[in-house]
Subunit: 538 residues, 2 copies
């Protein structure tokens, strides 16, 4: 009979009497050796000879290794094999019936737990599959994965040097290197890893606001002037969402028009700044975007920086998506002027394919994060420690406990070198260009933007029944229904995943995203043919 947690728990609450009882009783967590008060812990550590043969260790180690087998085989390798499905679609109600989600009073056996794990893997979308081109993240990087697993095994919280020495120093190194790549002088400034680009943007707003009116930290926004910030209508929704969360309000995010290629219209920006001044409001920040979410447009940072200088506004660049291009000497000119930004959001989990989540905010101003956010909690950030407490970096975050998102990216960077990251970027831009060239003049395909700037490509597929009917009254409506239908079919087959959306007056169009350098030109052709196959009869 397989051992269950219940058996072991029953053992746990008994006081250990003999040595082997103690071993069994410590099974809930992973500790494998009971305390021996006679063996002083401060003597040099010795590896006990019997360690490897402890029955409980074997019991748990066996289980862990069986699980790793499932993960390596089914999630990692089979899950990214082009011969296998991207997903095994089940309707929510159906999936509730198929998987045993329920939590019960009694524990499950290891046998059952293995089956459950296989179900979790089996019914999950394989986001690392080459045909998952649905979001701004994808791919499984083996070095990133291993480093994530290491992070989990070490289970740190990155707030003090005493608890996370390696991770604290590693964050410093990576953030400095990234600031250097952005172009901040000497890599100087400030920075953090945050749980996602939305929060990175939120931090940027918070720092800009603090720099504008330090009083806000203690007094709040009540009775201060009405703060206004500016971003383009194609910017990520997090600017609005976080402005609302930060108490600024969505109405005070003035949306700037974009041009035909999705880039911020700088003359409209100036008009809107002037309008806000005319209203007696206090403009304090512009958030430019380097790589918009849908179109992949790069706002003209240099021109925006000039405007910010003139009006003394904080310049934030949301390069969550496009930031990766900075590591390529071929493509970094897309972000020209970014070195003039006050702050930059850059998510290595996007174009650089680090595992979820790996998001950074980089700032040109040293110490600004702590100034804006510190509360000096005495129980955690004691000043009478025996080491240099400048390494206790937690107080500049709004999180307290915090996962270490650095190791996975640092380890990938070590494994590939900066040159490898650059080649990766060049490859995904090539893929994107190849795909664009493949569909540009192909019957049934129409580009939304003629020359995509980033590696997300937006296009319509026009099925045979709709071709040549652009002038007909209901053309737009009918075209609008094509992408959702093709998406439904591809989901149900599980053959690929690509997203679609409408934007402004444009009917639903596809957005395919290239960020995996494991993709080849043959894959580009495959995507085109799949969409044709799925939409031929519409």
């Amino acid at each position: 009979m397989p051992a269950t947690g219940e058996d072991l728990h029953d053992a746990i609450i008994e006081e250990p009497a003999t040595y082997s009882d103690a071993i069994l009783s410590s099974d809930e967590e992973i500790y494998t050796k009971p305390h021996q008060p006679s063996a002083p812990i401060h003597s040099p550590p010795q590896k006990p000879a019997f360690f490897e043969s402890l029955p409980v260790r074997e019991h748990h180690e066996d289980f862990i290794r069986q699980c790793v087998d499932v993960l390596v085989k089914e999630a990692v390798f089979e899950g990214t094999n082009r011969n296998n499905r991207v997903l095994n679609w089940k309707d929510p109600e159906e999936l509730k019936r198929l998987m045993d989600f329920g939590l019960r009073r009694a524990p499950e056996s290891h046998e059952q737990l293995l089956k459950i794990l296989k179900d979790v893997v089996g019914y999950s979308v394989k986001t690392g599959h080459p045909y998952f081109v649905n979001q701004l993240f994808s791919a499984v990087d083996p070095y990133g994965l291993v480093a994530q697993w290491a992070t989990d095994a070490l289970n740190p919280s990155v707030y003090t040097y005493e608890v996370s020495p390696v991770f604290v120093l590693m964050e410093e190194v990576v953030l400095k290197e990234m600031r250097q790549i952005v172009g901040f002088e000497g890599g100087k400034g400030d920075g953090i890893f945050c749980p996602g680009g939305s929060l990175a943007n939120g931090y940027a707003i918070s720092c800009a606001r603090y720099r504008f009116l330090p009083d806000v930290k203690a007094k709040g926004l009540h009775a201060l002037p009405r703060l206004v910030l500016f971003t383009s209508e194609d910017a990520h929704y997090s600017i609005k969402k976080l402005s609302s969360f930060l108490g600024i309000g969505t109405d005070n995010v003035y949306l700037i028009r974009t041009d035909s290629r999705g880039r911020m219209d700088v003359s409209h920006l100036v008009q809107e700044i002037e309008r806000s001044l005319g209203e007696g409001a206090a403009p304090f920040m512009v958030s430019a975007t380097a790589g918009t979410t849908v179109i992949g447009a790069f706002d003209p940072i240099t021109e925006i920086a000039d405007v910010c200088e003139k009006y003394k506004l904080w310049l934030h660049v949301d390069a969550a998506w496009g930031g990766g291009a900075l590591v390529s000497s071929k493509h970094r000119s897309l972000l020209k002027g970014i070195e003039r930004a006050d702050s930059v959001t850059w998510n290595p989990h996007k174009l650089l394919t680090a595992p979820q989540q790996c998001s950074t905010l980089l700032l040109r101003h040293e110490g600004i994060l702590a100034e804006a956010h510190s509360t000096n909690a005495a129980y955690l950030f004691q000043k009478d420690k025996f080491y240099d407490t400048k390494y206790d970096t937690g107080d500049k975050h709004i999180q307290c406990g915090r996962r270490a998102d650095v190791l996975k990216f640092w380890y990938m960077w070590k494994a590939k070198g900066t040159s490898g990251l650059e080649k990766h970027i060049n490859k995904v831009f090539e893929n994107s260009k190849y795909f664009t060239d493949s569909i540009r003049h192909r019957e049934g395909f129409e580009m939304v933007i003629e020359e995509p700037e980033c590696t997300n490509v937006c296009f319509w597929y026009v099925p045979p029944s709709l071709r040549g009917q652009k002038e007909s009254r209901d053309y737009k409506e009918r075209l609008h229904r094509v992408a959702p239908k093709i998406k439904e079919r591809m989901m149900k087959e599980g053959c690929m995943m690509v997203t679609y959306q409408a934007q402004k007056e444009l009917p639903n169009f596809f957005r395919i995203v290239f960020q995996s350098s494991g993709l080849e030109k043959a894959d580009m052709v495959h995507f085109v043919e799949e969409i044709e196959r799925l939409g031929a009869d519409l």
Copy 2:
């Protein structure tokens, strides 16, 4: 010569000519099989017979398995063995010299990468070690760990059902079960997983504020009444920090006195509410604490709920730490009245030892999170999908991309059953009581709070040279220096980690935290003896 990323990258940018070239070229990410346009992806998936023998898969799989070996042995089992050190202390400057943190243009070999991984493990604090009793998290749970690894291998982002079907449904199940345990009728309400308890508290403030003044979402706090919230002076600093981030301002967090046992003084709360009203401010929320960070006190929720009812204030309970006690019929009365809360923060990564991070916010009000935070981004939350889009839950979060923190906890829960969670809680409370009893009358030990309510125990160690000198002029000063010195010694030996802090007029005292049910009574004795040994000559 070991293969390096550089070699492989060189291969990547060439177009694959032959089959084996293609294999090599796809090595950056983990894909192991090139696209074959002739094999339709939509036909039933077949496991290719040759799959296991592909050289690149072997290359990567070998590396992954070697890394897993390092992690399982060195991080997990040796790292939690009582015979080994909790940490191998190095000063920041020394560690910078010892570890190769630098990022370079050229890639590292697999051999070097393995060495690096061992260094990361070797110099990291073993937060799962039984003698790491320094923070409100600890222990390595094998089921939690495996499930974290699964999450990483699947690399989901939990915003839409189409991308994360399993995780979306699993979150629903766990959050409902937790609401039921809290006591919300029928488990109804709302809830989310968030990156840490601080942000959970921030969400609570945001929801309370929205409920009080829905205008805040669009208009912001400017020109609205001055909002005021209340929490005890012993509450976690995140209430102040997030109030500042949310634009409310730290001055508008009115701190309520605590009694001699660290619990909120309800009569002072009433006075402060009246004071704010007298000032013309708008009180909107009370944040009670169930298990304060340092003392482990439980605020009297029932009485606070009565006050909130009278003044129509939102009642939040920050049970990030103490929430775990809810699963124990023996200890849940500590949180009596919590079922009357509007919102509850509860971190399973604390008392219930789920891996970092696993934090939840649970609310009694259905739909409030989306009302307060949604922005309806059209590119992600399309309404014309073919499935029920109520399962696209991402818009109620302020994050966009979001890690799945649910699987590790759900899997632990499955493995142990609710009964196992309950036994765990009972065991850690027993440990705490046993430790308290061990030091209460022991020479040289003095309790900060005579009867700790939770499993964090605060005490002074008074070295022989200071005993019987309480009346001397510099007693407090000298006692204040004891804990930092003992902490320094234990860190440098690596024998254990326990934190200390001053609070109000009290000099530095230790706070030991019990949350691992792998600890036995013998360990409690060991802690006492270690502190005596380390402090004997002070």
